[in-house]
Amino acid sequence: MKGTLTPCKLAFISLIYGLLLVSALFAGCTQSTTSAPATPVATTVPVTAAATPVAVATTAVPVTVAPTSTPAPTFTPSQSNLVVFTAASLTGASNTIGSSFTKAYPPTTVSFDLDGTQALKTQIENGAYADVLISASNTYTTALKNEGYLVNSSVKPLTTNYVIVILPASNPANIQSLADLAKPGVKIAMEDKTVPAGTATIAVLNNLANSTYGQSWKNATISNVVTYELSEPAVATKVALGEVDAGFVYQSTATAAASGTYQSITIPQKYNYLQTYTIGILQESTNKPQAAWFEQYMLSSAGQNILSEYGFTPVVSHYK
């Protein structure tokens, strides 16, 4: 083939087809946005609005592909697999929950997406599909409710958790009390403030500072923090490896760990922060009946027993 593609010709031709493609993309984009089934309007997140056309346009490049990849709602229990977005602090319990739920409601299976609740929230806001959300933060649950992502009537408190300090089994920094956390040279891991456990830890530090230990203790403790991890299990791992001297985690993590993994220092309940987990069904779930079964199961004594086994504290009756 002798087709001499001079740069000039090429540029002109690609310009023409580029323009054609762009117009096709935007045509496809308007179609797909109008036909998308009741996507929740994120009125409270102003930044999302501007990018939607472009974001959709990139996915619309293969014109033959249907605009949305979510299957049509089919309520056939035999087919269903529930996608449960789960706070990372439930990592230990998730396997047991999954297998015992499948046993109780065969053959519905469960896939867990375990991450910090702040990450799950971002994913949901950016279009990730989930049937059920188990959130470790009331704040994030409320935000998602207000943004229209959750079936608000389905959102219920699931369980609770307290903050605890864990130390490597060998206790290399010889920490005997909460006061010792402020000793110079102690290495502490905690969660970033966006992570629910990080928010809880900051609240606990404030409570302790204001009641017993004072502001200078708090400042010294915070200056001993060597890393702000992005999920609660990441802190536990750093402690288990012995890479840090202490970590702020949930009580469930200390309870569920194999004996000899950690030493722990409990924080008195009156200074502690009670983190309430919620469970709720996503508005866009195509498996709402099964999702409701799952929620029912988690709130039932069977589900609650699994959670207690993994060190979670049941929701006190007046919350219900």
Partner: protein, 273 residues
């Protein structure tokens, strides 16, 4: 369209142009649209306001500081290494060659775990450092070490192949004219390979600047100490999305700046040759 445009020969040519045009515009759009989306998503006012956020400022300086050190170390150690490696054959050279390439295919998170279990406080080597009172993990040093591990292969490979491809006749001529080894290196070998070395260094810089997985595993995430720009983007996307977007745009600007600089250098070199 020219007259006779539908003669079979021209028709075929038009088809070729059409296919090429579609292909080129599709690839271009695929690469350009995400960057464009990033710029559209945030208003200029919001961008400049967030630019002064202490989290953004400290991540920016930390990233520039650590990548500058990474680059310096890689160039100072990597250049003579690559030179000797390409000039001499020694037992186990194949293994060294493979090891140089390994970080390119190794997932960065794995690199981070590996560094942690070696240099961490209870790591195989780290425990001895710890006895001497030196801690590496969760420090700025760890950030630099992670970057060097992950990014140095780009420079080493480039330098190695440049030195291998350089015709030995040049060096031999210089030697017969009585030049010392040092003089040959600085006045013959390095000038002849400079352009290639610079582009290798730029690749290393870019990779180091974008390092995420190994850093978060080995160095942790502490603002001002180990929270580099990619980590700040990640944290920002889960909290203050404007911080994430602002740093992303900064990284785009830096990347473009690097590419333009390289083009200019290469152009100047080509003009001189």
């Amino acid at each position: 369209m020219r007259p006779g445009g539908f003669r079979p020969k021209n028709y075929r040519r038009t088809l070729t142009y059409l296919a090429a045009g579609i292909l080129i515009s599709a690839v271009t759009l695929y690469l350009a649209l995400p960057i464009l989306a990033l710029l559209i998503r945030i208003t200029p006012d919001m961008f400049f306001a967030t630019l002064h956020d202490p989290e953004v400022v400290s991540a920016l300086w930390l990233s520039l500081f650590t990548t500058a050190i990474t680059l310096t170390v890689v160039i100072l150690v990597g250049t003579p290494f690559a030179y000797f490696h390409s000039r001499y054959s020694y037992p186990g050279k194949v293994i060294v060659d493979t090891l140089i390439d390994l970080p390119l295919v190794l997932p960065p998170a794995v690199a981070g775990v590996a560094l942690l279990v070696l240099y961490g406080r209870v790591g195989i080597l780290g425990r001895y450092f710890n006895m001497l009172g030196i801690s590496i993990a969760f420090t700025t040093l760890a950030v630099i070490m992670a970057q060097i591990f992950v990014a140095s292969p780009f420079y080493l490979r480039q330098a190695k192949s440049l030195f291998e491809q350089l015709d030995p006749a040049y060096e031999q001529t210089a030697r017969t004219l009585g030049a010392s080894s040092l003089r040959i290196l600085t006045q013959v070998t390095l000038p002849m390979t400079a352009t290639g070395l610079v582009s290798g260094a730029v690749m290393t810089f870019g990779r180091a600047l974008g390092e995420f997985g190994a850093t978060i595993m080995f160095a942790g995430n502490l603002p001002g100490v180990t929270q580099t720009m990619p980590l700040a983007v990640y944290v920002g996307m889960e909290g203050n999305i404007n911080v994430g977007l602002t740093i992303s745009i900064l990284l785009v600007i830096i990347s473009f700046g690097i590419m333009i600089a390289v083009r200019l250098i290469q152009k100047r070199e080509a003009g001189r040759a």
